[in-house]
């Protein structure tokens, strides 16, 4: 394993030290392991908290700031944060108007956020959890853990963050996050596996001529292993799976062509060109987009495509100013 790290056990803490040093707009608490907007809590503002395993940078810590998250709690690499952390983030941003938890749908995340919410209620902080489950690669069923939360998390954090920034009420902020989740789908593809520092070796082995379709963002294998394909074929597989689950024809969409960490931007732009063509051929119009690394899986090569069917209100909230280390416009 070759990584730019010091001690395997300190990677998350060292990254947080770097965030603290690099971003004066953030308050980084190394003890509690939370990253908080330096102006939090703001009285009367609904707090927006997210968190999850580390290794998906810039998600979530890189999305803390004006118009997006109020706090993030990074767990160990690919491991949900613990309730204490989530509680610390929740109290740090509570301005009396309640706190929304954006939770990616993984058993660990759901359970730890649930425990934290109970603890927060004990401190009289109203918490509304919104669970993101946009990954169409996973068959949905009430008998299973359900779909994973992946790329749509960025959409939900940005759009709910804009509403919270403009003074939206607790139910509305949670509501718009849920609406984004319902209108969004994602599908990811891996060309290589990634290596969790503590594990020291790649999570799975992929042959030189193989790729994984339907991967998650935690280095877990996907739903199908197939032969190497072209970018056009990969984009087709991803968008077909999304379109089958949520017909896109006739929609104005927000599209994210997201790198998993180890794929050059050049290739992501190539994939975006293919996605644009595919969508145009299927009656959908891209009106907003992100191309780059937003929800990564350490140094995994590959990409994930996320699509959100916009409404005029969602577009307006998307366009609202945002100022975070990972996403910035309008100020």
């Amino acid at each position: 394993m070759k990584k730019l790290i010091d001690a395997v056990d300190d990677v998350v803490l060292d990254a947080m030290r770097g965030m603290a040093a690099a971003h004066p707009s953030l308050r980084v608490d190394l003890e509690q392991r939370v990253i908080v907007r330096s102006d939090a809590p703001r009285t009367g503002k609904v707090g927006l908290v997210s968190g999850g395993g580390s290794g998906h940078e810039p998600l979530h810590g890189g999305f803390v700031g004006y118009g997006m998250l109020d706090a993030a709690c990074p767990g160990e690499v690919f491991t949900s944060p613990v309730p204490d952390q989530i509680l610390a983030a929740t109290t740090a941003v509570s301005g009396g108007a309640g706190v929304v938890h954006i939770v990616k749908n993984y058993t660990g995340d759901v359970l730890n956020f649930q425990m934290a919410a109970e603890l927060a209620e004990d401190e009289d902080i109203e918490v509304v959890p919104v669970v993101i489950d946009d990954d169409v690669a996973v068959q949905d069923s009430t008998f299973t853990a359900g779909r994973r939360g992946t790329g749509a998390t960025v959409f939900a954090e940005k759009i709910a963050g804009a509403l919270a920034e403009s003074g939206g009420a607790l139910a509305d902020v949670a509501g718009v996050a849920k609406e984004v989740n319902e209108r969004s789908r994602s599908f990811g593809v891996a060309l290589t596996a990634c290596t969790v520092p503590a594990a020291g070796r790649p999570t799975f082995d992929l042959g030189e001529d193989e790729i994984e379709l339907g991967i998650g963002i935690h280095g877990e294998p996907g739903r199908e292993r197939v032969g190497l394909r072209t970018a056009i074929e990969i984009v087709d597989a991803a968008l077909s799976a999304i379109d089958e689950d949520m017909p896109l024809s006739g929609s104005e969409v927000l599209v994210m062509v997201n790198g998993m960490g180890g794929t050059p931007l050049m290739e992501l732009y190539g994939a975006y060109a293919a996605a644009e063509k595919w969508l145009a051929g299927h009656g959908a119009t891209i009106s907003r987009r992100l191309v780059g690394n937003y929800v990564t899986s350490l140094e995994m090569a590959g990409c994930m495509i996320s699509v959100c069917r916009l409404t005029p209100r969602l577009t307006e909230l998307w366009d609202a100013p945002v100022e975070t280390p990972g996403l910035r416009w309008g100020r």
Binding site: V77, S80, P83, L111, A145, P221, R223
Partner: protein, 202 residues
């Protein structure tokens, strides 16, 4: 029953087997179960002291697991131990029957939280048969009951291999989860191995 010795031994076994647990989790999960549980149980063992009452030992271990582990296993193992500790109450001595009730409470806690049934390919597949076997053998004394529980946990864990997962990360793999042992079931075996060893030597 020395719950302190049990927990310390569990921590040792997890530490020794952390790599294997992580490898199992790499195959059908995200490759962190060993390091998760090891981090949690190290912290738990440090938080404990031999002079705590037996129930308090388990509650403290459980609370520490919740606070330090993360992932799915943190809340699940944490809740299991907290519930078990709660069931023991303030008693200063724990016999075979009391421990049986505690184990049953642990299982209930895990299922309440995680909603997994037997056959879903989770730790429940080792825990549930272990608790049942323990109860069945409780009349023969602590050591025998713990031994029976370990046997059942081992069989239960082994039996997860051909199953398709319906809970936890492995469920994302669908049919590809078949053919691998569930890491949480494997670590549950260690919990009962620690119990059997502790019971045998007391």
């Amino acid at each position: 029953m020395d719950t302190y010795a049990w927990m310390v031994r569990f921590a040792e076994l997890v530490s020794a087997d952390a790599e294997r647990l992580t490898r199992l989790d790499s195959a059908i999960g995200d490759g962190d179960h060993g390091s998760n549980l090891d981090r949690g149980m190290r912290a738990a063992a440090e938080a404990l002291s031999a002079d705590l009452p037996p129930g308090k030992v388990l509650m403290t271990a459980g609370r520490t697991l919740v606070s330090k582990t993360g992932g799915a296993s943190g809340p699940l193992y944490g809740t299991a131990l907290r519930r078990a500790g709660k069931a023991l109450g303030d008693a200063s001595e724990v016999g075979a029957v009391e421990l049986g009730a505690a184990l049953r409470a642990a299982l209930e806690g895990v299922q309440e939280l995680g909603k997994a049934e037997e056959g879903d390919k989770t730790m429940v597949d080792a825990l549930a048969p272990a608790v049942t076997a323990y109860e069945a053998a409780a009349g023969e004394g602590l050591a025998a009951a713990a031994r029976a529980a370990l046997d059942a946990a081992e069989k239960g864990a082994e039996a997860t291999v051909p199953l398709q997962a319906r809970k936890g990360r492995a469920s994302y793999l669908g049919p590809r989860s078949v053919g691998h042992q569930d890491p949480g079931a494997a670590s549950t075996v260690l919990l009962f191995r620690a119990l059997a060893e502790t019971a045998a030597s007391s």
